[in-house]
Amino acid sequence: MSPVQTLFGSLSGGTTVTLAVLLPLFGTAFIGLFRARPNLREAATIVTGLLLFGLVLSLWPQIMAGENPRFVLSTPIPGIPLVLEVEPLGYLFSLVASFLWIVTSLYSIGYMRGHHEKNQTRFYLFFAIAISAAMGVAYSGNLFTLFLFYEVLTLCTFPLVTHHQTEKARRAGRVYLGILLSTSVGLQLLGIIWTYSLAGTLDFQVGGILDGHISARMVPVLLALFVFGVGKAAVMPFHRWLPAAMVAPTPVSALLHAVAVVKAGVFTILKVSVFIFGPELISGTGAADFLIWIAAATIILGSLVAFTKDNLKARLAYSTISQLSYIVLGALLANQWGIIGGGMHIVMHAFGKITLFFGAGAIMVAAHKTEISQMKGLGRSMPFTFGAFFVGALSIIGLPPAGGAWSKWFLGLGTLEAGELGLLAVLMVSSLLSLAYLLEIPLKAFFSKPDRPPEQEGIREAPLPSLIAMGITSLGTIGLFVFPEPFYRLMTMVVGG
Amino acid sequence: MRILGLYNYWIFIFLMMVGFYILISRRNLVKKILGLNIFQTSVFIFYISLGKITGGTAPILVEGESEVVYSNPLPHVLILTAIVVGVSTTAVALSLVVRIKEAYGTIEGAEINAMDNRMPPP
Amino acid sequence: MGLFLDIVSWVLLLSGSFFAVVGALGVIRMPDLFTRLHAAGVTDTMGAGLILVGLMFQGGMSLVTVKLFMVLGFLWFSSPVSTYALSRATLASGQEPFWSEDMEIPDTARIPGMVYPVDATAEGD
């Protein structure tokens, strides 16, 4: 018996699933309770995170056994229950989110205190709610439930994005909420209701629910409603919210880019592709043809824009936009390798990008630098930070020995399976671009001479908790290259391998 | 009788038009109420005409006694009720006008609107 | 007897109608408020009186007649009071009665010791 099983073994699958969604909410009670005592407050977050991760892990045997634990919360609308159900893809997402929450919390302790941020209790509170929503997204048993948690995630990250409550934050918040809500309400919800009126159900089913209920002519329209309606996937032209959200504290960026938000977006698209439309409907009708090229365009344009940004966080943001469309591309290819690659890239990009953001945040806290051109020679003062940054960059580019190599490899196979050499070329060009815009940073830090040397005196490494967090994620990135097996197995279960 | 019934309808329509016209064309609050009253009076006349057509169609039967038939009180009651409603509305309206006059110093709708607009947006 | 009553009633109604119309005509013809009040008095006293009495003959000895009588009584009671209130209010508002310029008051019509408005006007000129 593992300690995990000792702790949670006695719980039934359905209970565990529900608990996984509710646990972070219980955590908020303690966070609120200890608002005057920061150490206890952060301890509450970490402990909740550990418990949550343990809870998620305890589901592993059941998932591997092919069981899908399920729990109906309520029935808001007759025929459309609010239901939680775990399948391998959602499980994969929940593993990533719950694990990275712990790491991000650890990092936050260093960052928020080092940066003397205000309203830290609120920060941890909404962070926990966001995780709860992310778990809800991961375990949604139907599209309705997913939409509910998707929107809750949008709303509870708003106070995080606008954490500083400045005029700039207010404007960013408007863009953030404006794009995410208008796409989800205006397009996604319409798609969902349309789906319901066609299929009479919103349940996620293997092979999809729409086949036979929709005319081939309308499939691309409905699919487009979802691809653009899931604003969190940041497919162009609905990507502006992600760079705007850069005003937030770095741990929030980590949450947005790696842990929950954008991942919830691409996860939704994968889910819709696999369980609502079904791979056969998409590939059979050629419905995704033009959408695939929009994803491809986003990949290239995102990389190009990233290239032009001197602000580190902005560059990372556009990098994310580009990388997310890899996953969208995988979902829209809707073939075996595309889906596996897309799912794997959720994990790989999460670990790689969170490492990069931790690095960016650490540079900001320790050296107060935000522009890449100012970072020349910083590597000597902060070797550990830039080392971790380098590892993260490798993963995003897709080079060994980082996990990103695997997902990019599978996505490449997916394009070949679809016979689209043009798409393969897009992937290659984008990787080359990311090689250029990401590796520039550690190279400058380690090998360039600072413009004004005296300025860098007194700069030391980031606070310890942040360093530990970076260590964990960069090691994880490498570990994922060595040991991608669990996630690969989950994804093969998704595609029915 | 037939002609009289028609007369009633013409009076009804005429009063309705006149009342409605006064109601919408006057800016003076009291004149508006006058118009409203004429407008409502037209309805009473309309109902009186109804009483002539349908009066006596439906008698009240008292349980226990066979066929004790009273005259149909229904149109009468309806008119009376409508009058009560109209009078109450007029009373409230006039008391509002009194208090508007106290508060604004005028009962000209245009002037009151101008004063309202001059005040800071609510 | 019934015919006789009917004829009486018709005569009353007809003459009442005559007075009502004539009085109303007077209200239009007369030059000022006070003189109009006289004309209005015609409709209120004779017009209403004859018509209502005419109706009483139709009503016979019944509650209807009692009520008609009450209507008449009330009209005859209230009409002079209203007339008085109207003329008084008009005078109070400063409006002078119409006075034809070429009018003379014979001495026989004068009450000793009274000052007539016409004299006051004449003296003022």
Partner: protein, 160 residues
């Protein structure tokens, strides 16, 4: 404020009730008595508040006077109607003061209203014993009818 005044008032009101009612069941009669009592109470309260109580002018000469008045009213109406219908509209309006000799307000009001009721003359104001009379023509106030009217009203009061 004497009780007899209210007894008299109550009785005359009850007479009024009986004429109107036509239903002589015990229930309705009871209501009648109660109603008259209630009205008397209100009248008493009014008298107390306004201190303006006067003797009820219930006299047997009243019907005779009313008959005479009706005849006068008819005569005057014919006159005024003739004026109205005359194309020349032969009016000569005049405002004259009248002296009224009645002691009681009740009879002064009766006199004033009688003047107004006969077309051709209207009472436009009273100040003590002086009435201001407006006449349609000066013939209307040559004094003869008015004097007779005054005598008859005085007779109602028992003054003459």
């Amino acid at each position: 404020m004497r009780p007899t005044r209210y007894i008299l008032l109550g009785l005359s009101l009850f007479g009024f009730w009986l004429v109107l009612s036509g239903h002589y069941t015990p229930l309705i009669l009871t209501f009648g008595v109660l109603s008259c009592t209630l009205v008397c109470v209100v009248a008493w309260r009014m008298d107390r508040v306004d201190r303006y109580a006067f003797r009820l002018g219930l006299t047997l000469r009243l019907p005779g006077y009313l008959l005479w008045l009706t005849r006068e009213i008819f005569k005057a109406n014919v006159n005024v109607a003739r004026i109205i219908l005359d194309p020349r509209l032969p009016i000569s309006p005049i405002m004259v003061p009248f002296r009224a000799r009645m002691k009681s307000d009740l009879w002064r009001m009766t006199y004033a209203n009688s003047i107004t009721l006969t077309p051709g003359t209207i009472t436009t104001g009273t100040d003590g014993r002086i009435f201001r009379i407006h006449a349609l023509t000066w013939h209307d106030v040559d004094g003869r009818e008015e004097d007779e009217m005054e005598e008859r009203v005085l007779a109602l009061d028992g003054q003459s």
